[in-house]
Amino acid sequence: MALIMERIGIWVGAILTFAIFSFLYRDNPFYKIAEQIFIGISAGYWFIYTIYNILIPNLFTPLLTNFSANLLLLLPALLGILMLCRLIPRIDWVSRYSIALVVGTTAGLFFKRYLQSDVINQMNATMINPFSAPDLAATIGQLILIIGTVTGIIYFFFSKKHEGVFGGTARVGIFFLMISFGAAFGYTVMARISLLIGRLDFLLGDWLGIIKP
């Protein structure tokens, strides 16, 4: 029976794949149905995932196994319930207490995290001696890296008008940023194409059996 159910699952998956691809022609009822199935299943999936992987191990299990030692957990539980009050318009303002805690924690943690990883560590990695590189290509590369980083930062400095030498330096920064965006775009295109290949692999392999693994 499991084998029959597996075949049914593959057929349903193939039909839904075609329903989504039908959007390439134009918006139509098949696409709309597949879209709503996707929304409903995603919402249900994340609901269950949150309960089993976040709330049960971090809140319910500690409270049920050793209530007195984890008494403090009642506070985030209460704030979580206050968060749900946002669904009731008359008392939705009480959710601000929970949001305040989340925002305060995020602000404090992000301050430390970004200062360390995105500012200090990145500046540290840029303050290198390019002439200590093992070969000419690496020396040129490291010089480019330093110039690109400094000029890129200058481009993002908007407190001074971009003109004269400052403007010229900022323009060099734009060139580096455009190369960076181009590389990122190339990678994104490749990722999407590989997903498309994956879909074709599913249709021609799992569904039709034309491609053998």
């Binding site: 709503q36 249900g44 809140l59 989340v102 404090g108 200062l115 890129g152 930062i153």
Partner: protein, 231 residues
């Protein structure tokens, strides 16, 4: 009260987390970890709030017979099916209220929740994102027209990276002798990624990091209050 107390909570929590960085002793030493745990629990409730809100919005659309209201019934039914399957029979690693229910697993080959995940959710999400490949093709046509120096650089970098990271790149430049190995497309793509791309990304990271630090300070000090809403 409705605004002052939340502002005080944000200030108090944010300051404690910042101060705890410099005082590695009790109670500050582990306060960051404790608050991180609380944050996770409240975030869990926030995710549930999002799902329930979606349910509420869809229900409202159906009851008001909004345009295309019939389709929203499908999403509600799918949401409830996923919920019931997850709660009653659990997931791959978690037993549900009815425990592992071997009979159902023998029938589907998987637990019902995992069956829906594998054959519906995985296929739908992969197809949704692969659909973007087609839209990217048309977007590339518009973006990749070399109108000025900046867009030419974007075009050249993207093409070189795409060619260099696929087998066609090494095939195209495979005939180039080893003495000119730096002209091989994979090596050019590596050079772009290692130095030129890193320089741009690093500038963005440093500036965005400074922006996050500034925003965090504004929030902690109560200058930025938009998260509290209108009233």
């Amino acid at each position: 009260m409705r605004r002052q107390i939340p502002l005080f909570i944000t200030f108090f929590i944010g300051t404690i987390i910042l101060v705890s960085e410099f005082i590695p002793h009790k109670p500050f030493g582990n306060i960051s970890t404790t608050l991180g745990g609380w944050f996770l629990i409240i975030s869990g409730f926030a995710i549930i709030l999002g799902q329930l809100n979606l349910f509420k919005v869809n229900l409202t659309k159906i009851s008001r017979k909004a345009p295309n209201w019939q389709y929203y019934i499908i999403s509600l039914v799918c949401f409830l099916i996923m919920l019931v399957c997850g709660i009653l029979w659990g997931t791959l690693r978690q037993p549900g209220l009815l425990y592992n229910s071997e009979g159902l697993v023998a029938f589907f080959g998987l637990k019902p929740f995992d069956y829906i995940f594998k054959y519906l959710f995985e296929n739908l999400s992969a197809t949704m994102f692969s659909l973007l490949a087609f839209f990217m093709a048309s977007a590339s046509y518009r973006a990749f027209r070399a109108r000025n120096a900046e867009s030419t650089l974007l075009l050249v970098a993207a093409v070189l990276v795409m060619l260099g990271r696929t087998t066609i790149g090494s095939t195209l430049t495979g005939w180039i002798p080893d003495s000119l190995t730096y002209l091989h497309l994979p090596n050019i793509a590596n050079f772009i990624m290692e130095y030129l791309n890193t320089a741009g990304q690093r500038a963005i990271m440093i500036c965005a990091g400074l922006g996050v630090i500034g925003s965090s300070l504004r929030i902690i000090l109560g200058i930025e209050r938009s998260y509290l809403g209108g009233r």
